[in-house]
């Protein structure tokens, strides 16, 4: 079992979940309608919970620090999230499209991991895949409804998709451990994930009457997995850790 390879995978999944959960929690109380406010908040909690569970595996299996320390006491360049999740919530159209693109990738990733040779991750994947399935159901239903709603909502969905797609493709940025993970049966790899993801979302987007933008390789936003982040991550982390840093040794 290659410890660094698995840790890399766990951290990138956890960091993605933490940051997108954090972003989506920003909608609580200011969403487009009461019931949707609630749904976004629940999904945000689920994601933050997944992050905690993944950090917990690192802590228990590899002796890393506890989840609170990992999440609240790391520098920006130590984070391995993709840049997609760092972007500000913007308006609801962007947040919904990000949720659609990211959550489909996450669901497929977890489905692939249910048969991982790394047991703790396989177990977690089997446990939480139902939750993520709901996230995808939610995203699909809203995307469909808004794509077919009015001229304005359709235009907004298309434009959000055009903007988000180069960032979304950055989810599949490969690490140096890609081959090891595939060889050891821990995870079947980003290429395989991307292929399944593209097939899935193309079908849904097309059925909704939208066009999935064709993004050339050089326009894909990479860097996050290697610690190169957008200008938004540092202020996000500063905000997230403001209270923790005000008295770092206190118990909150």
């Amino acid at each position: 079992m290659n410890k660094e390879a698995i840790q890399d995978l766990l951290y990138k999944m956890a960091d993605d979940a933490l940051i997108i959960g954090h972003r989506n929690s920003e909608w609580t109380g200011i969403g487009p309608m009461l019931e949707e406010d609630l749904a976004f908040a629940s999904m945000a909690q689920d994601k933050v919970g997944h992050a905690q569970a993944l950090y917990q595996i690192c802590h228990e299996v590899f002796g890393d620090k506890d989840p609170d320390t990992i999440a609240f006491h790391r520098e920006e360049k130590e984070f391995k999230c993709c840049q997609l999740v760092e972007l500000p919530i913007g308006e609801y159209d962007f947040s919904l499209v990000r949720h659609f693109l990211f959550d489909h990738a996450e669901l497929i990733r977890y489905e692939m991991l249910t048969t991982s040779t790394f047991q703790p991750l396989a177990q977690l994947a089997r446990k939480v895949k139902g939750e993520i399935k709901y996230h995808v159901m939610h995203a699909d239903s809203f995307l469909k409804q808004l794509a077919k709603g009015t001229e304005e909502s359709h235009a907004r969905m298309q434009s959000a998709l055009n903007y988000a797609m180069p960032y979304a493709l950055g989810i599949f940025e490969k690490s140096e451990y890609e081959d090891v993970l595939i060889k050891e049966g821990v995870f079947a790899g980003e290429d395989s994930l991307k292929e399944k993801w593209l097939e899935k979302i193309t079908a849904i987007v097309t059925a909704a009457g939208l066009i999935l933008p064709n993004v050339i390789d050089s326009n894909i936003i990479y860097g996050g997995r290697k610690g190169y982040h957008s200008k938004y991550l540092e202020p996000l982390l500063d905000e997230m850790t403001e209270v923790t840093r005000s008295d770092p040794r206190a118990e909150w």
């Binding site: 019931e35 629940s42 709901y134 809203f142």
Partner: protein
Amino acid sequence: MSLDPRVNRIDLHKVGSEEQHTNSHLITWEVFHQEKKGKQVIHVGIVHAPTPDLALILAKEQFGRRGATTNIWVTKTSDVYSFSSEDEDIFETTPEKTFRNPEFYKVRDRIEEYQAKHKTV
């Protein structure tokens, strides 16, 4: 400057300061919740939604985010029928129809009297 960093990221002035009218008018769906297989499916409230899919999705979080849930049903409010309040008097005498209740049938005394008389026990 707000104390809430989220509010500072919003362009509040996008919305004018004169009187505004929202358009928050969707139809409602009655929601039914089942806690455990084998138990009744119970009416718990409503959600506002445009389609059955969205009604289910939104009801899940409104009514199923705590405790146990095995399933949720929704139906449009306009598809639910009930008796009118003037006709609620049809139910008034039902509690008096004790011939329908098990407690109405008491035979212990008769059994004991018979046994005492005929010494059957």
